[in-house]
């Protein structure tokens, strides 16, 4: 089993590990970094439960190998929560009950932050389009769309 030593800045902290070269990023985050907030739903890049931020870009944690993240800066749901970046979204998700089982939620937050931080508007159709890479099997999506709209409207309110 071939391994490689890597160093990744995860949520502001350096994580060094010797990882099997076939290990994907989300397994590295969950297993080597002990951050189980990023979830594994399909392992083929469709469901979005493993979505994280890598060097500022929204990335599927199951479609990137851990060794590809060597030297990168990765932020997970735990990092978003600790830094307060997801605080407004978390409040809106709570108020709207935009989560039920919560398994898709970390990935949904990462995608929503990507939309909001790039200047996305409170256009329901555009938000639905943007989060179509994140499956939610519980809510029916409407409350998630409303929560994201709430945050954008709060930010843009005069």
């Amino acid at each position: 089993m071939k391994t490689k030593d890597i160093s990744v800045i995860v949520n502001g902290e350096e994580v060094r590990a010797s990882v099997p070269v076939r290990r994907n990023l989300v397994d590295f985050l969950r297993t080597d970094a002990g951050l189980t907030g990023s979830h594994v739903g399909c392992e083929h890049g469709v469901c979005g439960a493993c979505t994280v931020e890598v060097n500022g870009a929204t990335v599927r944690g199951c479609l990137m190998l851990a060794v590809q993240a060597d030297g990168a800066t990765v932020t997970t749901v735990e990092g978003f929560a600790a830094s307060g970046r997801s605080a407004a979204l978390a409040a809106a998700f709570t108020r709207r009950n935009a989560l039920q089982c919560g398994f898709c939620t970390p990935g949904m937050l990462a995608s929503a932050l990507g939309y909001i931080d790039r200047g996305g508007t409170a256009d329901r159709a555009a938000i639905r389009e943007h989060i179509s890479g994140n499956y939610c099997r519980c809510t029916g999506y409407q409350s998630i769309v409303e929560a994201i709209c709430d945050v954008i409207e709060e930010r843009t309110a005069p």
Binding site: C42, T94, C101, F103, R124
Partner: protein, 792 residues
Amino acid sequence: MTGPATIFDRPNRYIGQPTPRADAARLLAGRGRFVDDIQLPRMVHAAFHRSPHAHARIVSVDVTAARAASGVLGVWTGAEMAALVTPYVGVLTHMAGLRSAPQHPLAVDVARWQGEPLVMIVARSRAEAEDAAELVEVDYEELPPACDATTALAKDAAVIHADFGSNLAWERKVDVGDIDAAFAQPGVQIVEREFRFGRHTGVTLESRGTVCEFDPSEGCLTMHYSGQAPHMMQVILSRLMSLPEENVRVISNDVGGSFGIKIHTYGDELAAAVAARALGRPVKFVADRMESFLTDIHARDHVVKARMGVTASGTIVGIDMHDLTGIGPFSMYPRTSAIECNQVLNLTGAPYTMQHYRAHGQVVFQNKNLMCQYRAVGHPIAMAVADGLLEDAARVIGMDPVELRRRNLMADDSYPRSSTAGMKLDDLSHQAALKKLCEIMDYDGLRAEQARLREQGIFRGIGFVSMVEVTNPSPMFYGIGGAPIASQDGATVRLDAGGALHVSSSITEQGQGTNGILAQIAAGVFGVDIDRVKVTTGDTGTVPYGGGTWASRGAGIGGEAMLLAAQALKEQVLDVAAVMLQSEPGLLDIRGGAVVDAATGAERMGLADLARTVYYRGNELPSDLKPELIATRHYRVTDFPFVFTNGAMAAHVEVDPETGFVKVLHFWAVEDCGRVINPMLVDEQVRGGVVQGIGGALYEECLYSDDGQLLNATMADYMVPMAAEMPEITVAHIETPTKTSFLGAKGAGEAGTGGAPAAILNAVNDALQPMGATIWQMPMTPERILKVLGKV
């Protein structure tokens, strides 16, 4: 039922309020506790060799190379596993005639569906276990498969269990009135259709999984279980592994969606428990997505031939139907795979006053994955058949489908009564729900718009469903048939020294908000701020004994138990307070965390003062006063087999005749689930249910080849509804509390899934009507729409 009169109008009530769930904060911070998040010392991982064939004799199994592979700690073949586990058979005594063959965790002599586990490998890592699984060599002799349910009973069909002589698992006939005579009456017009409902599955975003630990020093097994019924699993593990029940503990923390998928006995999970006992170290098995598609129970798979008779003036005289259901090679243990068909027979036409009903259901074995209870068991079939025929009949007699419903729905003041099939009904509101639905959707306006747009070549359709939902099941559902499934639930409420409540309940949380409503009920009924209530569910080691959350029973049964327990504790506390305050219990109340004067609301004593006195300074109390400050109550439904809810729903769709695509423009649901404990949570249950119903109606299907190979076992190929294609869903309520409990809550979790497919079907057919086409097969894919339009 009578009860304390002040619960619903107390100043600090929570019942009825859209209170946010306390659990949300943890899940939003990435601090969920799902099974795959568990990391235990010395934990090892299981993977499986699974049958690549739908039907094959296992000639030989060679695990030599697998045993020798790097990191491997244990390998079990089907025969080795069978020696350690009592076989199980998915039958219930009240389902007369139901038969199924003994099942083993791993196939022994014959593999009967593609994906059936044959060999388990346990290794240091999942990757190493999978590597070793690839080294398992099995010599298969392929057998002719019986995959198509419609030919499974043919004389030349391969018989899956030779002893049975045929692939028939169960059948039931219902015959009420005289359908042949009724249909032969002059003026009765008959509509006849063949409905096909494809197989789909739950696609819980968190796949099935377990971590099992065994402590040989105490002989105790702990299963960390992603599922809905911990006490049921406790009994099953005890029986099948020959362990004393008390030595099995089942714990469900966060469950990433379940929808009925995670409430059954799966061989791979059982095998993981056996491995944990054999190795004396924790074993984790988490299904990957392909394993989920191949082995999570599938749903539906019906072919229904049905006729409805209707008079020119719009009286539905009856329904005559035949339902054929394919359930895979076994009936699932312990709930069985015949309940779905049974529900179809029980529920078809249940909202209507028709006098005649004849139904024949047949449940057949086939070489596909097992079919069993998934959200809204049988309901989508029953509702689509009855309401599909109703709207078809409306077209034939030239009557508006809403008007035809009005003339046939049971009157809201006609309860209690029975349905034509003999279901006991009470507290329903079909007429009021339909009226409210038409108001909130602006039915007349939509019809006018539809006519206008049709002139422009835009084909929009409006479709309805009036439905019932089976909720709050009594012991008549499973217990009567010998299943180890509790029909009652318990709740415990404890006042702690600091004045907070710790409550526990045997119902479980899979995202519905179970823990939230338990806190609402306890806080409101007892009289503390909801922030001062902590909730424990999902652990057989600590919670009262009960059934769990399924069949839309959590709020109605578990919620009532919590109400009764909170009221009992309140009475106990007031008795203590009366002694301490030299007052009378009837003159006191508990509000906002304090004992108050009931008349004025003036605080007499904080709950912490009272509790600390009881716990720390009992010497201050009279010696004959022995307060416990804890109360447990259990509740079961006694007067009815089930408590039915009703609803009315409508879909607005647009069909593109060039591409066959269906766009759902809007969906409306009016639901009567009795007393609404938390309108926000109920609305989201309805919306999520509707979306799963839309999935079954338009997108989701487990596609099999003729020889039983699942063709779309990936998330990319199996179409789960996504945000962009889902409509906005308007939800409204009628509240007719059930008289079977003081709380008055009925279930709400399955209505959307049960009703939406019928409404979508009717809307699509309404849109297709000007083109002279109709469709009766779900999912209604673009290809199938183009086919009925004669374009492919």
